[in-house]
Symmetry: C2
Subunit: 206 residues, 2 copies
Amino acid sequence: MPIASTSRRAVRQPSTADKRELILRAATKLFARRGFFHAQVADVAKEAGVAAGTVYLYFENKDDLLISIFEQRMQEAMAEANASLKGVADPVERLHRLARVHLGHLGRDRDMAVVFQVELRQSTKFMERFSSTLLQDYLNAIRDAITGAQHEGTFRPEASAMLAAKMFYGALDEMATNWILSRRRYRLVAQADDVVDLFVQGLRKR
Amino acid sequence: MPIASTSRRAVRQPSTADKRELILRAATKLFARRGFFHAQVADVAKEAGVAAGTVYLYFENKDDLLISIFEQRMQEAMAEANASLKGVADPVERLHRLARVHLGHLGRDRDMAVVFQVELRQSTKFMERFSSTLLQDYLNAIRDAITGAQHEGTFRPEASAMLAAKMFYGALDEMATNWILSRRRYRLVAQADDVVDLFVQGLRKR
DNA sequence: ACGTAATGAATGAATGTTCATTCATTAATA
DNA sequence: TATTAATGAATGAACATTCATTCATTACGT
């Protein structure tokens, strides 16, 4: 019984890239809604409109599905960040750009945000893979903006730039986590500038 | 067939060492090192020096084990926090105390910290349970210290206290996560005061 | 043009393994 | 002896992965 192939537009060919993306989206949705361990590969396949076995033509195994979501989306975010920073010299403005891309990217797709904020952290295996490479690069980018501002004379030179970078990242991360767990719907990216301002100015009256 | 006639919680004998606590510690260790889903109940039992079935005399099921670790340890931390805040009126000092208890508590037991920072976040089920109650109380305590300082005139009144509270929590949370993922060994609690100072003063030169 | 062969993407039932949980039995204790 | 605690082998459900088979499409030969 033919299930698939019904409503495909005549011109569009069944590109493999499309199908991979299709499965990735289905996996993102199910991982986000049921959790990685409780989502079954068979259900991911069904959601994508393919057979269970087809998933294994595009991905090594279930873990690879999760890792691929991360790598694919992270790569897109990195490209976005680089484009956004291009030609911007002012360190404070660079922090604003990073925060906007960070929250903007997550705030655009709730299921993906859940995968990033929750599912990817389910084991130190994934965490370490994540934190030792991409996260490190990201933290370094933040730190460099901070040291830049210190050399420029805008920021206090005695503050630890790496500590500040971690706090900055932690603050954004918490905004994202709060957003996905909140039943209130608001634009995540709208908090970016306030976070940066508070981080730069501090709470104390001047 | 008998369906989980729950509510049979064993009465502990004072003669033996607290077996419940023993199992909880074993579970913490294995969940931290193998991850919740990959740790087997049988291995938790073996680690605790009891039979597999014994675990079910003290806990409903595997989930209950994870939830119990959280509730038990969180309760202890809350008590510690309250004791530490007692009689301290200065809002900034209250923030310092909270940060020290937070990082001190996690920094004292690495396995427990891994369970808190990683394993408890593996599914929105646990996350929501966590964030809607205890975390909310904690965030409110931070927020209250901040509004206190605003009324006192120490902190800028135009800053959003709740946003600041989330950033504060996020910063501490990130310190903890960084600590467990780092192979460097350092005292987590040692960062508490620097985090609070930077948070209060901000990065910008005054 | 027509028939035939080759290709490989896709399928989904079957497999085999992995555990959480149970419960009949035994040990300990009062 | 009666009561409660503890045991651990057995159970069976869940589920990732495999692979023999199907079938639409393309290439080839005449």
